[in-house]
């Protein structure tokens, strides 16, 4: 028990906890964005969802794809592909006792890059805005992964 309560005495782990929670909440926001566009544009994937909004009209008409909905979904999937590895690799990295300043730099740049990525994806901004924000976040995660493998490699 003592170990558990003292784990969060580590400033690196507290920083990890803070930034991971922020990017995961940002990722979860994409579900709300998808629901918002589905409801306002009346575009659904499931017949039982369309039925609620068809109001006696033709249910099948509402079962289509919409470019705004698909854009949010692509952004959500990109978050999953990038934020989930960050959260997993970031935890292992935080447990290897890195320098606090270095850890904060990694966590802050990643979080900033993913917030900008979402803005660039949803507005959308012309390329290479989105591409650059993606690359920055990607390289941050790679940098932490290299740090882990150099520090604790055990094959």
């Amino acid at each position: 028990m003592a170990n558990l309560s003292s784990l969060m005495d580590s400033e690196v782990l507290r920083a990890y906890a803070t930034y991971s929670t922020i990017v995961l909440l940002k990722m979860m926001l994409m579900s709300i964005a998808t629901a918002y566009f589905r409801l306002t544009k009346k575009v659904f994937a499931n017949p039982e969802d369309a039925r609620v909004h068809a109001k006696g009209g033709d249910t099948k008409k509402l079962l289509k794809t919409d470019e705004d909905v698909e854009r949010v979904r692509r952004c959500h999937l990109n978050d999953i592909e990038n934020i989930v590895p960050f959260v997993a690799i970031g935890l292992i990295y935080a447990l290897t006792n890195p320098n606090l300043a270095s850890a904060l730099l990694h966590f802050r740049i990643f979080t900033g890059s993913r917030i900008l990525h979402t803005i660039a994806y949803l507005l959308p901004l012309p390329q290479p805005s989105r591409g650059l924000t993606w690359v920055v976040g990607y390289l941050v995660t790679i940098s932490m992964a290299v740090g882990i493998l150099r520090g604790v490699l055990y094959l």
Copy 2:
């Protein structure tokens, strides 16, 4: 070494381990469900898969989408979008030394909501059954995230 073996002395961490494992196994079951529908309905995404089941017939005929398969896949993706954040945020939450009763309440409600969500999605039950089960699980994860940010914020 001592730290590691004693980590699981914490009841909160044992509860986290139990419920996270259960929801992750539930999520993994969706792969089996997808495979089951693909094989019984003979609907494939890859030519090399279709070839095995075409038995000398036309391979291309089996390369199509099927509403039952797509439904399971949407349910699987929804699991990824919701269970993965729960597992990540839940671990950080468990490490912030929360009250055991409060932690159990979060873990149990989330696990129950996701099992009901799958049932509502696959049968399917008329809306808002699935919507409600989704919202409950979502709010549980948000509640843990708020707890983390209030407890260990380090920006």
Copy 3:
């Protein structure tokens, strides 16, 4: 602080850190593979991406799906469905203080199976190559999950 730096004294946790980082890097490589095929085959999902490569020509022509791109994306999604549960369940398993030899066996077989799975998916090799590599990785994760539930069950 002391706890944190000593966590990685555990050989099981170091092995977990190593193999999890390797499979997550492998998963992240799929983003590069997708980008490579999109750029070389000029196939895009977003109009702002197509615009850069249309060179004054028709942007809409580049907004299509391509079988090579879709194959990489299916492989990437399969990684998410399987590697993410491994990383999460593997961490909990590593924290339950398992036998080192047993843990290494789980981590090595999983990592090998997923590398072979990617090769079988992208070449592609005829079935059941890909199916078998998938099953092996799946069973490794199930085996660790059973170990967790038998060891620390707390409902």
